[in-house]
């Protein structure tokens, strides 16, 4: 269990957060740049001391400004992955991984580092310098290095943002595997809500130093508490299997039933995404009309007003969120339990290989 509370003011940025992450759980903090995400991680790691704060991990107090406790970073059991991985350029991959193994005899250090690297599929690169490795390989070395000391808390700073889109998928898988294996609290920050949704069990949206809403990704997408959250939580993500369709389009068989079309090219396991404001709602009874190719039947779970818009949380074969005007919502008389058809264009459907 990790508890972090911090209040601070650094220049124009005022930080005021309180969060808790359970063992084996990953809390993903998502927010725009400058929102204070990295600051929270640094406070947790001991690299930054807030004006007032509290950090507790596994029963140990690492920081308590009121009682004057401030345990230095090297004595906190944290695993920290930096945005650019901060691998030591003058050391080889295995030496990087072995760096935290202080006091361990030399032969054993190499063996344990090798073992860790092999777990991440990098056994062959043990003697390579970080500069010669690809972005994805470097990310895995950073993860291996972080785990060498069996940390009690994981802190991840934008773990995927340094990677190109193609590598990101594989890296996300590796990271998810790690998060599942290591049953410790994990705190992850990112500017990409989709990444947060994919990796986090819970997501906290952070803006200007405050956590404005916290919950599962679906909850946030379906019932955003503010326009900011609504805009930030972005796309609906559906998983399925893609195959080739007519006219050069791709058909995706959704997990749980249903089929949608996309103009993107992909095959095999994919994540299909579409933005809530591109989803239109129609009564089920109506026959499909217009150019929108995708049509999914769903039941309305939540109706949340956000300014002059309405966010609908829909239960279909997979959870969906749609955003329509208040006027339209009234016109369609939508409420919990209404059965509707969610439609959107194939051209608005993005596919990402999983």
């Amino acid at each position: 269990m990790l508890r972090v509370e911090a209040t601070s003011r650094v220049g124009p940025l005022g930080l005021d957060v309180a969060l808790a992450v359970g063992a084996g759980e990953c809390l993903a903090l998502a927010g725009p740049s400058g929102a204070g995400k990295t600051t929270i991680l640094r406070v947790a790691a001991g690299l930054l001391r807030p004006a007032r704060g509290l950090v507790e991990a596994d029963g140990e107090t690492w920081l308590d400004t009121e009682r004057g406790i401030d345990v230095p970073p090297e004595r906190r059991s944290c695993g920290y992955v930096f945005q650019d991985y901060a691998l030591f350029p003058h050391l080889s991959a295995w030496q990087n991984v072995a760096y935290p193994l202080i006091g361990v005899p030399r032969r054993e250090r190499r063996a344990r580092a090798q073992e860790l690297l092999e777990r991440f599929g990098l056994g062959a690169h043990a003697d390579a310098r970080p500069q010669t490795l690809s972005g994805g390989e470097r990310q895995r070395v950073a993860l291996a290095r972080m785990l060498a000391r069996s940390p009690g808390v994981l802190l991840l700073d934008e773990p995927l943002s340094a990677l190109d889109a193609r590598t990101r998928a594989g890296a996300a898988r590796a990271l998810s595997a790690v998060l599942n294996d290591v049953r410790v609290p994990a705190l992850l920050v990112t500017h990409d809500f989709a990444e947060a949704a994919q990796l986090g069990d819970r997501v906290g949206v952070i803006d200007a130093g405050h956590i404005v809403q916290e919950g599962t990704p679906t909850e946030l997408a379906a019932a955003p508490r503010s326009a900011f959250v609504a805009d930030f939580t972005g796309a609906v993500v559906l998983s399925g299997t893609a195959r080739s369709g007519h006219d050069g389009l791709t058909l995706v068989d959704l997990d749980g039933g249903g089929e949608i079309t996309s103009t993107d090219q992909a095959r095999g396991r994919v994540a299909a995404s579409v933005f809530p404001w591109e989803i239109a709602i129609e009564p089920v009874a109506e026959a499909p009309h217009g150019s929108a190719q995708n049509r999914v039947l769903a039941e309305v779970l939540t109706v949340t007003a956000v300014g002059n818009r309405v966010r609908l949380g829909l239960a279909g074969p997979q959870p969906l969120a749609a955003e329509i005007t208040l006027a339209s919502a009234r016109a369609l008389d939508l409420h919990t339990g209404s059965r509707v058809a969610a439609t959107w264009k194939a051209a608005a459907t993005r596919l990402v290989a999983l």
Binding site: R42, A45, P73, Y80, F82, A86, F88, H90, L91
Partner: protein, 277 residues
Amino acid sequence: MRGWRRFLWFPALLAACLAAALLFLTLPVVAIFVDRSPAELIDSLGEPGALDALWLSLRTTAIAIAIILVIGTPAAYLVATRSFRGRALVITLIELPLVLPPAVAGIALLAAVGPTGILGGTIEALGIELSLTTAGVVVALTFVASPFYVRQAIAAFAAVDRRLLDASRTLGASEARGFLRVMIPSALPGLAAGTALALGRALGEFGATLMFAGSFQGITQTIPLAIYDRFSTEFESALALSAVLVAVSGALLLTVKLVAGAEAMGGWDAADTRAAR
């Protein structure tokens, strides 16, 4: 200016400047080796004073460099990684001996730690003798050469990606360990460059040494002083010693750069730019 002439004009100027600089810098050095025959030069090296001077120069420079590295490196690290009030002043003070002419450096040393200087009495009371001794030579060399190293070291440490140090701490290494295992290796090319500069300065030091420690064969007469002593009456000997100094300096320079690794060859820090990628 049309077409090709416009394009060639600037590069030609650059090339001309480089040629002039190279010529100016290398001709005197080459002249040392070419003015007399190698046989004559080697002969005059044999006399005992020459070997004494060489050995003394190497000993005193080695000790001075050792002192500079041991004390200057942590000091430079502190200045480079912490901000504190008066930091700019501290840096200026460290750099001051750089702009002092050797004679002024000699006067300064005398005024500070000479027999009649500020600390002269204290030093004498402790039983330490500095003037006219080899220890005095080491003091003079350390004084004039340390800014060359410390300045480079500060720049080198400041250029290291701070996140590497953060990473080191989150991985369980104390700040001291991070300093030794991450900071120094990362800054090595810059440290090597600074060491090379300090080495050259110390080997060639003349004015401050003469004023502060005097000139006596085997005790305080380093190669530069020996050259000065000989040039009016034994020019061959002076030439030979000069040639030795150039050769030794060149060899030491090369060794330092090789030790620091291939990145040092270029002269600029390459390691830190890679770490960021």
